[in-house]
């Protein structure tokens, strides 16, 4: 909302600098985003009067006006067509800063000789002054402009650019802001005086108003002005409209816009002669009804949109836009002026669905009061009579089915203190509310005030609203800062967050960089992880209104977006990359919100180390990935196991399913070469994904302390030869089954020339220990023999010679 200071001053005395006013408005809820100073650069420009116009001796298209500026007459060279003796104009002396009419750049006016004639300055166009784009004619000022006065004093202004919050439609107008300024600067509001002559027969003999759908139209008022001459509105009005960002059209339309900007009530002018049956009917659109709106577009109306109709057809889309069939044109002489009130939700719906956001729409959808129609209608009628001539019919039409008496509300000092934490007196409360236009009366007790909101305020419905008014006008700075004094509420342990924290810290400790990727992904990306089936199943949840194809589906896995992050980094990273994300995936469910488990996904690829003089450490592989999870599970005290997996995203034999107590909670493996190829990667990528939500129950509680062994351990190494099909896991499961075995570690795995075909060799270091005594060789030998026997019996293992 743009509010020119001069306009504001018509309704309130402003004695403070604009910056201070802007700051106070900002603090009280209406943010001033900036102040635009019109004429701030108009040094050396004054109001002049054309005293004479002589021809240029050397050029037909140029003339030599003599300009009276109160001191010495100035003669300039000018090419504009509208040089008339007696006109008041803007005269720029040498040194003035003007906008070049052709290049648009700001330049300082220099002394110039044009075609042999000295020009002592310039008569300015609107463009040169930065008022508008008009450069074909010079600016002609109103006849009462005082000659010799600096133009900045006469025409300059400061325009506040205000951000009005959606609850304050009353602030979408100059008088509304004036009311706020009055309240925050301790001044009084002077509303405009409205008076005009009425004549002839009463209005109801000219027009009837019927509201059929009163739920959408609480009030409809109209006046009639006959004998109007359509023309341009006066410069002062045009300038104000322009300053507020509206384009002048003609005197009648300009008045409706002007009054909307002044009082906040949208108005609409019909050509009265085009209203058929001389009746206004406010009703919902009928099925298939269309209307050509003022912008020339044909609009299809839905049955829940409200129209203003005559007896035959719709003549306007209520509150949104007028119809072309009843438009005010140059030939119009009788104006039917509408000031009505419409249901905010209905207007919002219509404006959105027809894609017609307008100034009127914006005000109606925020909910303005029906009481506002009458003052605005009268003000606009007065201005039309004043500017367009004509005669106002006697009275105004007023259909008001939604009339409700304003109800006073009670605000108590007690409740105010309870909510704000600071005491305000009845006097302070009364003063604030009165300054905002509230009617205040003493309440039932000495600590209460009975307040009735002014007719323009639609946002005050209960006591807290009144308390906010008091707080914001006195200022939030007057509320102290205290700490919560109540006892701290009971807190349940945040197990999930603790687990997430532990996982993140562990991964970071292992050298993984945390990534955060978008929750949305595309089906195409997900399909790349399905090299066999090409099917994404089950289907992920889809957005009804995706912004882009890349962000159409809620991710059912973290893999896709994380791998994309790796790919993007691979363009500039040559060494190993270790990335992880811990976040939600979204799994659709019938009749319920999607399941949103927390998932950990990690991936690693490339060289194990950065390049180094100590060697590069080789390439990252499956066992680097597995080590991360093993380390994580150890840290969490979770007994996870790895079993061959069957996820089609992975290399068929280089993958494992991760299970805890037979419950599968994740996968790990080398991505299928087809998957990496689909992402334009030539390297092997190792990825793991873990359902952290399912992991959580296994991490509950903690294990008890185990005493440190008091008796020495004994260590034995064995090398076994087994079929290649026998797994390490099978071997250690057997070894661990013996009671004195404290630990077992594999330290060599070999298959090749040294062992028979179809066999492999594994070497283990077994640690024996007893909690009760020092072991003897004999004891250990006995156990080791039993171990070997069992390995031989169950797995066909033999000792390597």
């Amino acid at each position: 909302m743009k509010v020119p200071l001069k306009w504001l001053r018509e309704f309130v005395d402003v004695n403070l600098p604009p910056k201070e006013v802007a700051d106070r408005l900002t603090m009280s809820g209406t943010e001033a985003k900036g102040i635009q100073v019109i004429g701030g650069t108009w040094d050396n420009i004054v109001v002049g009067q054309i005293a004479a116009v002589n021809p240029h001796p050397n050029a037909d298209r140029l003339r030599l006006p003599t300009v009276d500026i109160g001191t010495e007459p100035q003669t300039v060279v000018c090419g504009a067509p509208n040089l008339n003796i007696g006109d008041k104009i803007a005269f720029a002396r040498v040194g003035a800063q003007l906008i070049d009419g052709h290049t648009g750049e700001i330049a300082k006016l220099k002394p110039a000789k044009i075609r042999g004639v000295e020009s002592s300055g310039m008569v300015c166009s609107e463009k040169e002054l930065g008022i508008s784009d008009n450069h074909t004619e010079i600016l002609v000022l109103p006849a009462d402009a005082p000659v010799g006065t600096p133009l900045a004093d006469y025409l300059g202004d400061a325009v506040f650019d205000l951000d009005v919050t959606p609850n304050r439609p009353d602030c979408l107008c100059v008088i509304g802001i004036a009311q706020e300024v009055a309240a925050v600067t301790d001044q009084k509001l002077h509303p405009p005086e409205v008076a005009y002559e009425e004549a002839g027969t009463p209005i109801d003999q000219h027009i009837a108003v019927e509201i059929i759908d009163a739920d959408l139209c609480p009030r409809y008022c109209a006046s009639l002005i006959t004998g109007v001459k359509i023309g341009e509105s006066p410069p002062w009005m045009q300038q104000r409209l322009l300053a507020c960002g509206m384009r002048p059209i003609n005197n009648v339309v300009d008045v409706t816009n002007y009054v909307m900007l002044e009082l906040g009530q949208p108005l609409h002018a019909f050509d009265y002669e085009l209203i058929r049956g001389k009746k206004i009917i406010v009703r919902r659109a009928t099925g298939g009804e269309t209307i050509t709106s003022l912008d020339g577009a044909e609009r299809n109306l839905a049955g829940n949109m409200l129209v203003i109709a005559d007896v035959e057809r719709a003549v306007a889309i209520a509150g949104v836009m007028g119809g072309a069939n009843s438009e005010v044109t140059e030939d119009t002489t009788s104006i039917l002026l509408e000031a009505a009130n419409f249901n905010p939700a209905s207007i919002h719906y219509t404006g959105q669905h027809l894609s017609l956001p307008s100034e009127a729409c914006m005000r109606f959808e925020r909910g303005i009061r029906p009481e506002l129609t009458m003052p605005a209608l009268k003000r606009a009628t007065q201005l039309i009579v004043q500017l367009g001539g004509g005669q106002a019919a006697r009275g105004v039409a007023d259909a008001y089915p939604g009339k409700r008496e304003p109800e006073p509300m009670v605000i108590s000092t007690e409740r105010t203190r309870q909510l704000l934490g600071v005491e305000f007196t009845v006097d302070q409360i009364t003063k604030v509310l009165t300054s905002l236009g509230f009617e205040c009366q003493p309440g039932a007790s000495s600590t209460e005030v009975k307040a009735t909101a002014p007719y323009w305020r639609s946002d005050i419905t209960q006591e807290v609203d009144l308390i906010e008014e008091v707080a914001r006008i006195i200022g939030y700075d007057h509320i102290p800062m205290t700490t919560l004094s109540q006892s701290i509420p009971p807190r349940s342990p945040a197990l999930m967050l603790d687990l997430e924290q532990k996982i993140r810290n562990t991964l970071v400790g292992y050298g993984f960089q945390e990534a955060i990727t978008y929750s949305l992904t595309s089906l195409e990306m997900l399909r790349r992880f399905r090299p066999q089936t090409q099917q994404v199943a089950p289907m992920p949840a889809r957005l009804a209104n995706p912004m882009t194809a890349e962000q159409e589906y809620l991710r059912p896995t973290l893999r896709a977006n994380l791998l994309a992050a790796l790919v993007a980094n691979r363009r500039h990273e040559e060494v190993g990359i270790r990335l992880f994300e811990l976040g939600k995936v979204y799994l659709p469910r019938e009749k319920e919100l999607p399941d949103e488990p927390e998932v950990l996904c990690g991936l690693l690829s490339g060289s194990r180390n950065d390049i180094s003089w100590l060697g590069d450490g080789g390439q990252l592989n499956f066992f680097d990935a597995k080590a991360v999870l093993e380390g994580l599970f150890r840290r969490l005290g979770v007994p996870a196991s790895f079993k061959p997996g069957d996820d089609e995203s992975f290399h068929p034999t280089h993958q494992a399913a991760i299970a805890i107590n037979d419950q599968e909670i994740g996968v790990i493996g080398e991505l299928h070469p087809k998957v990496t190829e689909a992402f334009d990667l030539a390297e092997a990528v190792y990825l793991f994904e873990l359902n952290v939500t399912e992991l959580l129950p296994f991490t509950a509680g903690h294990s008890m302390f185990q005493p440190i062994p008091r008796f020495p351990a004994m260590v034995r190494d064995i090398a076994l030869i087994v079929d290649v099909g026998v797994s390490h896991q099978q071997i250690v499961d057997i070894i661990r089954g013996f009671s004195l075995v404290k630990d077992v570690a594999v330290f060599d795995v070999y298959s090749g020339k040294q062992v028979p075909a179809g066999k492999k060799s594994l070497a283990y270091r077994i640690t024996y220990q007893s909690p009760t005594h020092t072991l003897t060789d004999e004891e250990v030998n006995k156990v080791q023999e039993q171990i070997l026997k069992k390995l031989s019996r169950q797995l066909g293992a033999t000792l390597r010679g």
Binding site: T165, T482, L497, I516
Partner: protein, 346 residues
């Protein structure tokens, strides 16, 4: 015999003087003092000598042995000292060479920021609560006093999920603010309540340097008897000074959010210009940090809490802005681009 002993001693001492390391010293000891040394065999052969000669030779032999042993004892520490010192002088290390590389991981700057903020509020007695990213229309809007066709919805442009099967009504959405969690908490928990609600939120918005379709917020809520706006100001100030530092000025002004009344906006003095006004702060000198207010009675009522008995404050903080301000990051898209060259800086 005695002469033999003296020669032996002279030779031994001479050899001892030239010994450089422990190994040589050991072989010297074996040679002269060991079981097979000539001194030992001399001592053994004494038995064959006549008594008189045996006495004097024996005394001399023992004397030689004692002398050699004491010389050896003196030599040993000198030798150890020499060994330790020479060991440190032999190998010169180029300490300017880099160490063995270790992979380096970091938390994402947004995680770091979330942790920092959550810790501040947890220390004030707040409990962390989480909601779901996909929400019902009701909790995102109606429960928060934002009815359908309300203009406030226009600034919360919404990503809707496709209707559930058998329906053509959009009822599920990606929450536009974590205030939806507040609506859930009010409905589910009983006062006293102090919760802090971090999470992802979504807007139907085109991506540019200052806008993302997905970002993070933290909402907070306190409900109890006697909670005031002064408490709200104090709580938010505590957060601000912990996060931005004691010196940073804080401003509270009136603002509007449908779910609070009175509504508050908290701004801090611009970090770039320190309040003088610059492009970053729109020449106002202030940077808006969060929205807050006293929870609207209607919102409490809908969640089953009596606003006559309890009062409440609520606030919501946008997260990305905070590291952007602190580190001077000028493009919000960097956060979720996951470029390692960006992430490694935090």
């Amino acid at each position: 015999m005695i002469q033999q002993l003296d020669e032996l001693k002279t030779k031994a001492l001479q050899e001892l003087g030239q010994i450089q390391d422990g190994k040589e010293l050991e072989s010297w000891r074996v040679r002269y003092l060991g079981k097979k040394s000539s001194l030992t065999s001399i001592l053994r052969s004494l038995a064959t000598l006549p008594l008189e000669e045996r006495k004097s030779a024996g005394a001399r032999a023992n004397q030689v042995k004692a002398d050699l042993e004491s010389e050896l004892q003196e030599k040993e520490p000198a030798l150890r000292e020499a060994r330790l010192v020479s060991g440190t002088q032999k190998e010169i290390l180029d300490i300017s060479l880099p160490g063995r590389p270790l992979p380096n991981g970091r938390l994402h700057p947004i995680t770091q920021t979330l942790n920092e903020i959550l810790n501040i509020f947890v220390s004030m007695g707040f409990q962390i609560a989480e909601g779901s990213d996909v929400e019902r229309d009701y909790y995102n809007f109606e429960a928060l006093n934002i009815p359908a066709e309300h203009p406030s919805r226009d600034t919360l442009s919404t990503c809707w999920l496709e209707p559930e099967t058998g329906s053509d009504e959009h009822t599920m959405l990606l929450r536009t603010h974590t205030t939806a969690v507040t609506a859930r908490v009010i409905e589910k928990m009983k006062p006293p309540i102090r919760v802090i609600e971090p999470g992802r939120v979504y807007r139907y918005e085109a991506t540019d340097a200052t806008h993302l379709p997905m970002f993070y917020q933290i909402d907070g809520l306190a409900v109890d008897k006697g909670i005031t706006m002064a408490d709200l100001k104090g709580t938010l100030y505590e957060f601000a000074r912990n996060f931005f530092g004691e010196e940073r000025k804080v401003r509270f002004r009136c603002d509007y959010f449908p779910f609070v009344e009175p509504g508050v906006e908290m701004a801090i003095e611009c970090l770039t210009c320190n309040g003088k006004g610059c492009r970053l702060c729109g020449y106002s000198g202030w940077i808006e940090i969060l929205g807050a207010g006293m929870t609207h009675p209607e919102v409490l009522r809908r969640g089953g809490i009596d606003p006559e008995e309890y009062s409440s404050f609520a606030f919501g903080i946008g997260i990305e802005r905070l590291p952007m301000l602190r580190y001077g990051i000028d493009d919000i898209r960097l956060f979720y681009g996951n470029d390692l060259r960006f992430l490694r800086q935090f």
